[in-house]
Symmetry: C2
Subunit: 331 residues, 2 copies
């Protein structure tokens, strides 16, 4: 609603902009825009917490360990390494643009980023801490309490505020201005001939049935293996775990394809090492279609135009622990 | 030499500055200055490599994992967590101001930062990779090769260039403008009464015998346990491992006390959890002196004035792996 109003008022102001909005509006994919946090102090605090390994039992693992913002918001490992080097059950999705997800996790079991953020801290296979201990650690650090005061009006530290702040920071992790968005916004030279052909193929062969909208996905749950079963040793059953319904077996959240160049390896089991492999498998099992090698190359070329500007900010400097801060227990 | 010339020329230019330099010159500790890298492109490349976990076998551990620049250039763990969660043998020293160390490591076995940087990559207990594999990974990434070209004139990737770049970046990790440096440079209000008394006690009781110079240490090897033996279960024997001499048993590089507020826990075994404990032990075993509680508090107050401005830079964005990049082997 807000977007449409915006477009109309712009149009009435300046007819020259009309073709841009018209062209984007006719496409199944829409550009994304930078987000200014509603409350910058909350987001700033959230950034610190996101980078703070003291939210884990070991003092070694932060959100950024597995969703590394130097590397597209993922760890680029098939399945993540958790506390004591436990092998994780599933591939870590990117946090980039995760504010646009219809729900969080591959099976959508968390309704939003705030609900999600409490999970990893207390997950014995990830950060292996407890909410009580995380709160105790943060509350023991006066400089953190000052940030809570600035952000929330009082220096009370609780898990609700911690996850609110982390989520607010994550909301800012938007990657605008990709080559593809430039093209959508009217710069017809932004894409090469191959990239454009790749996009046309992506549309015409039906990928946009599931990968559409501003996030190029992330807005529906779909069966993995529409025409042929997906073969994997990974035991995850997807959405069925949430709904209990047999028809939801192997239904997963359609991942965003924004920054997909950076979020290798692919699929919930991380078994597709390259984009070429992922595209080939998608075509075969979701669309019952066999692409030629050069068709795959063109689609991959298009997918790489979805890499946007990565969030740019100073490495946060964390306040030191005090004599009262519970010490990490790494071993 | 360079510093002295600088001071004299300034004096001749402006007599008003004389008291500042004169006061600093009479003190056993000198201020430190920000460093501009000789070759910014090399330092910039080094920053990326420093943050890149693909220099490790697992793809999970970077230099920044153990020398976290959000946390004073250390991991704040007694002894580090290495590849596959191995328990490290010794406490990780800070990389901040490490360019000022007379040699690298607690026992000084690496002569400089470049020689040091090759160590952890190939150390089976740390990053567990090989130099050959690290080179292969970096060389497989065209965007990295462009950075090598910009930095070194050609896009050849080898371990010599990798360690040169990391070392050049580390040289920039200087923390100027601490409260104590402001005081040294003439701002007599920079220290509180307690902090100043702490400094006087630090000098008068003999701490500056070992902790002196711009880094407040880092310029000599000294016996840990001059008057009384230091009790520890840690098997490290220090400099004796390098020289083979019995007299070097339990001789360690005197650590810098710059940013010591951030580099807890203390000593090579990480067994002193608080600065109070470390100061108390130092007094007892290095100076045969028993401080009262308020004396310790004052020295600690002084030590905290040695926290400088932390290096400030954008979180580096790393170029993605390609289909030819060897994949990490985390498990
Ligand atoms: C040990 C690795 C690890 C750590 C630490 C970790 N995550 Fe995750 N994260 C994952 C994995 C794996 C998943 C996917 C789990 C699933 O879908 O069942 C995930 C899922 C997510 C998602 C959902 C994304 C999506 O598209 O569904 C978000 C958001 C997220 N994590 C944020 C965080 C935050 C915030 C923290 C720190 C508080 C954190 N993660 C810590 C590995 C990790
Ligand atoms: C019927 C829905 C559907 C269609 C059609 C579809 N996809 Fe997907 N796509 C999904 C789902 C669901 C996943 C996640 C599956 C999983 O990980 O188990 C996915 C995953 C992907 C991934 C991996 C993303 C990641 O980060 O792991 C890529 C790349 C991809 N799709 C591209 C395509 C292309 C190209 C097409 C057309 C040839 C296509 N998809 C058609 C539903 C669909
Ligand atoms: C797994 C943890 C770990 C990793 C990864 C690691 N270090 Fe270290 N680092 C240590 C420990 C522990 C020591 C002390 C070893 C000793 O003195 O014997 C050390 C020592 C150093 C020193 C010497 C500092 C001094 O005061 O003597 C420097 C400099 C350094 N590391 C830089 C790096 C760089 C650069 C990298 C990446 C290429 C790196 N480290 C990776 C744990 C690590
Ligand atoms: C005779 C030399 C000597 C004297 C005198 C001395 N120190 Fe030290 N100091 C060392 C050495 C060597 C170490 C490292 C020992 C180790 O880790 O095994 C050290 C370590 C420390 C540390 C821990 C630093 C860290 O990062 O782990 C602190 C704090 C410290 N000294 C403060 C003091 C104070 C305060 C005094 C005076 C009361 C003092 N020292 C006197 C040699 C000395
Ligand atoms: Ca992935
Ligand atoms: Ca330490």
């Amino acid at each position: 609603m807000i977007k449409r109003t915006f477009a109309i008022s712009l149009l009435s102001l300046s007819a020259i902009l009309a073709p841009i909005y018209a062209s984007a509006a006719n496409e199944p994919i829409q550009p994304i825009k930078a987000v200014t946090p509603e409350n910058p102090d909350v987001a700033e605090l959230g950034k610190m917490l996101y980078f703070d390994p003291r939210l884990s039992k070991s003092g070694f693992i932060s959100c950024n360990s597995c969703h590394n913002l130097s590397m597209g918001g993922t760890d680029n490992i098939k399945t993540s390494i958790g506390h004591k080097w436990q092998e994780g059950p599933i591939n870590a999705p990117t946090v980039l643009n995760s504010g646009m997800n219809l729900a969080q996790f591959w099976d959508g079991r968390a309704k939003d980023l705030k609900e999600q953020a409490g999970g990893p801290i207390a997950n014995p296979g990830e950060m292996a801490f407890t909410h009580e201990m995380a709160v105790k650690v943060v509350a023991s650090i006066p400089q953190y309490r000052e940030h809570f005061k600035k952000a929330f009006g009082s220096d009370t530290v609780d898990i609700d505020r911690i996850t609110t702040a982390i989520a607010e920071f994550e909301e800012t992790l938007v990657t605008p201005n990709s080559k593809f968005d430039q093209w959508l916004e009217g710069d017809k030279n932004a894409l090469s001939a191959d990239e454009l052909e790749g996009y046309k193929l992506f549309k015409s062969s039906g990928c946009t049935q599931c990968h559409n909208g501003p996030a190029v996905g992330a807005n529906s749950f779909q069966k993995m293996g529409m025409f042929k079963p997906y073969e994997t040793k990974n035991p995850a059953v997807g959405r069925m775990d949430v709904t209990g319904k047999e028809e939801d077996r192997f239904v997963f959240k359609v991942p965003t394809l924004r920054n997909v160049e950076l979020t290798y390896p692919y699929f919930h089991d991380g078994e597709a090492a390259t984009l070429e492999e992922a595209v080939d498998i998608m075509a075969k099992i979701q669309l019952n279609r066999e692409f030629k090698k050069d068709e795959i190359a063109k689609i991959v070329a298009f997918l790489k135009t979805l890499t946007g500007e990565q969030p740019k900010f100073d490495l946060p400097i964390l306040p030191p622990s005090t004599n009262n801060t519970p010490r990490p227990q790494p071993f």
